[in-house]
Symmetry: C2
Subunit: 558 residues, 2 copies
């Protein structure tokens, strides 16, 4: 952000309090919902929020507020979670770590004791080691943090921290001493999102080298990573693909960064767990253009023959590497824009590559059979339209979900690198509020459902209508293949009864493909409330992708 | 602990692996259950646990495993929680902070990537900023931490860390790289709990001063704090009371540290929110002997006329202060033992003081009325016997619960200082496994129930039988008095239906005192499973203690 004293954005009132000022800044940055649970150190700020244009979304537990804010940030560009001191804040360290690991700009706002009371009573309730403990902890999982203990500095501090969130697409931490939220801001600043520019000489040299590599390559391929979505580079990517006809793949973390029906799209590259034709194409390529991709074990590492660095052009938000050398001060956006403005060889598209992937999805069992994981994903794939967004929790919900064909951009959300269980149901709240035009389909295992499934309560409270597909197989299925034992078993719930506990929603128990198909159709007709489809799967059934992944992981336990 | 190569304790096998070694150490320190959820980085250790004498208790979410281990530690002297790297560990930062704030020796054990894989693939799944992030975070909420990356050092490191937990009654952190759990320990050590001794000259001088103050006081009083329980000093305290007839009070955090029917016991000192006769006695005393007490705002700070330091003898595990000066190197145990061996004036007991408190509890409404918070606690007080332990969550569950008369020592558990909601139901799992002889009665508000109530699943799985009393008043009642708004409302569940979701347990919906009494009787008769009593309270009803507390807190919001 750049900030001035003028009125380039919504002007601040003359007698704005610190709390109102922060609220106005967030609202002007597209944050229209905030997730959390109040507590006495943050009640004053909650009261200010109630009187503002930002809507508070109360979740059942703070952890879910963190996950919801993360999803909101992924869909909308910025999200916020607001909690009380320590007993609230320390419940969302994990969800903030997830946002850090997967580049999601979440603003963590925490109430805190006021300055006079800290001096008067050192042992205030909720305190841990000292009054800085919570901020010290969050400094490990955020890119910037501040304690707004001085109203004079607050506008500059808010600017610094929110700028960092937007610049790096990473979480940040703002602590609000409760007495200060009522202090008047004497020097309000009007902020706008900042622009960052590359070093012209560096980008010229890098571009020349990249163009030469791309044009001389026999089998170039683009790996479109999650930063393409986070930094809003989809249009530039599409232009590049149009211009060159180079095939493109996504990764588990970036799945749906591009419409999967795009003629240049081959599929998800997942190393050893993906479709062989995608893996072979990427790993035999002589020029791999990695755009905004993290080289994670899930995305790359579980392949015994991963991408060779000497064949890569790798641009991320932090640096550009070509082969084994690095260029600093090159912005992804600038690089892609420049690439689209130079001469690049246009190739012919080999449509046979795409057909292979689509054929694989059509090999599904008949309607009379007991439902299987493969059958479930086959039916769901037929059901999907651009009206739906898929949100996958960890496990076969994710690995099976990666085979689905997503019709538009950014319609598949999952914690595919950090892999924290319990994400999907709370995330559907954030995603649907961030974009009410599309209905979430949540894929969740029974293990993850037992963690955060009660957030269907929040879904009911906010009158949202996700379709929850519960992959019910009595345990932590992914772990069973790696190393099984009674610790992988779950106590079995009658999950469908949750609609009676919550007094709203519809549920179906599903055992066959036909029942599943029928439940999906009924869910489609019922847009008024959430629909839970409890799919009873065999305890050891798994998707092909999961079987390949767990086989690879099991070699690493010892 | 002191450790030798001989066999003063259970001897270690010749070919013990690092994982087995840690398990044996924990078991010999009375840890017979461990709480957690497995993940791929900790599966090998879970497999070793399965083959050991320690029983794994799987919870639904890691947060609850943290709370359960905390309660286990409070009842049994040491507890342990075992989780996977980051996605498990970072979910229990809050429960570990609670253990830190309230002095509960919880051993946090986390799996982690193996050393070779960390070198080979920097972006392994679950990683946050770097491979030390989790340990850096836990260093803020533990007294000692270690990463067992070297099997040679492991026995000494385990000794150092477990010793610190036992010495300070604080949480500690042990990280297990997954490849190392299978490494053979070549130098096993045999450990026993250490003894610490005071400085003789210091204790002599301090004792002389303390004895003079105590003997010359007109109205001395003992405030027995939570460290009396944590450090096992109850017998020494009783001996001192017997010897002197000085009246004694507890605090919210230490409630039940002494049998509340003891003839010297006046009640819980809670500053402005307690019974006036207790408050007046303590605040007008000319010699307040604080033993193992933290001077927290909840315990002391909300009184406008708190204890004057110039009239105190204050001994804790970290130091001894008399009036405004400090003595170092004085152990609480040594000091109490010495105090019991010198001449101290024996006083007469003023029984009128005690009667006043008991009378207050008997002023209860009749059986025909709609149930009120006061009525609930009155009936429950009549119902209590030494066969029950009370575990209170945050809110009126706690504040009302403080009025109950507890019949034996250590039968009232709550996070009365850190005040983290969602503690009580998971804590009942830890408490009952730590001491199967007494049945937990859980007091929980609807807000806290929505956070961790699904752990009734774990209760069912382990065939435990707590009685859950749900104070159902449609919101965060404590906050309503401070500053109310729609953010204090909860989405209403039909809580009784949870027994259908979980396919086990019994539930009652209660609207009148008579129904409550009847439900309690049925719960008493049914010892086979959990019983949930859903008590429908008026939205604005509150205990007298809560009314006094919230009035005091509301002055601090601005």
């Amino acid at each position: 952000m750049t900030c001035k004293s003028s009125d380039t954005m919504e002007s601040q009132k003359a007698h704005t309090t610190l709390g109102e000022y922060l609220i106005n800044q967030l609202y002007s940055l597209n944050v229209h919902h905030i997730f959390g649970i109040p507590g006495d150190y943050v009640l004053g700020f909650y009261d200010q929020l109630t009187k503002s244009k930002i809507k508070i979304i109360n979740t059942c537990d703070e952890q879910s507020a963190g996950f919801a804010a993360d999803a909101y940030a992924r869909v909308r560009g910025l999200g916020a979670v607001c909690v009380t001191y320590c007993v609230g804040g320390l419940k969302i360290v994990n969800s903030t770590a997830e946002a850090y690991a997967e580049k999601s700009p979440v603003v963590v706002i925490s109430g805190a004791p006021g300055l006079p009371e800290k001096k008067k009573t050192p042992l205030l309730h909720h305190r841990v080691r000292d009054f800085n403990t919570q901020r010290d902890i969050f400094s490990n999982v955020t890119i910037a943090s501040t304690i707004l203990d001085n109203p004079e500095d607050a506008p500059a501090e808010i600017e610094r921290v929110l700028s960092a969130a937007i610049r790096h697409k990473m979480p940040v931490y703002i602590e609000l001493p409760r007495d200060n939220v009522y202090k008047i801001i004497s020097n309000p600043r009007i902020c706008s999102v900042p622009e960052f520019n590359s070093d012209a000489a560096v980008i010229r040299e890098a571009l020349q080298e990249a163009v030469s590599m791309i044009n001389s390559a026999q089998l170039p391929v683009v790996v479109a990573g999650v930063e393409v979505q986070r930094f809003g580079l989809q249009e530039l990517l599409l232009k590049f693909l149009q211009k060159t006809n180079i095939p493109v793949v996504s990764t588990p973390l970036s799945k749906s960064v591009i419409n999967e029906l795009h003629r240049s799209y081959l599929g998800v590259y997942e190393g050893a767990m993906g479709y062989p034709h995608v893996r072979n194409y990427v790993e035999s390529s002589d020029c791999v253009l990695l755009i905004g991709t993290f080289m994670t074990d899930i995305d790359f590492g579980n392949s015994p023959t991963p991408v060779e660095q000497g064949k890569t052009i790798n641009i991320t938000s932090s640096k550009l590497s070509i082969k084994h050398h690095n260029y600093e001060n090159v912005e992804m956006r600038d690089f892609l824009e420049k690439l689209n403005n130079v001469d690049l060889r246009k190739r012919n598209i080999d449509t046979s590559l795409k057909r292979e992937g689509i054929l694989a999805l059509q090999q599904r069992p008949s309607n009379r059979d007991k439902i299987t994981v493969d059958g479930l994903f086959g039916k769901l794939n037929d059901f999907l339209t651009p009206d739906y967004m898929v949100i996958a929790d960890v496990g076969d919900a994710l690995f099976g979900g990666l085979d689905l064909v997503i019709h538009k951009g950014t319609e598949f959300l999952s914690p595919a690198y950090y892999l924290s269980m319990g994400f999907a149901i709370p995330a559907s709240i954030g995603a649907q509020l961030a974009n009410p035009a599309i209905r979430p389909i949540v894929l969740v295992g029974d293990g993850a459902f037992q963690m955060t499934g009660t957030e269907l309560s929040t879904i009911a409270r906010e009158k949202l209508n996700p379709i929850i597909i519960l992959l019910n197989n009595d345990g932590y299925r992914t772990e069973r293949t790696i190393l099984d034992g009674p610790f992988n078993d779950l106590y079995s719930w009658d999950y469908s009864k949750i609609v009676e506990l919550l007094k709203v929603g519809v549920s179906f128990d599903v055992n066959s493909n036909r029942e599943f198909e029928s439940a999906l159709e009924k869910a489609k007709e019922n847009g008024r409330e959430f629909v839970l489809i409890n799919v009873h799967l065999d305890r050891f059934d798994a998707s092909a992708a999961l079987k390949r992944l767990t086989e690879s992981l099991s070699k690493k336990v010892r």
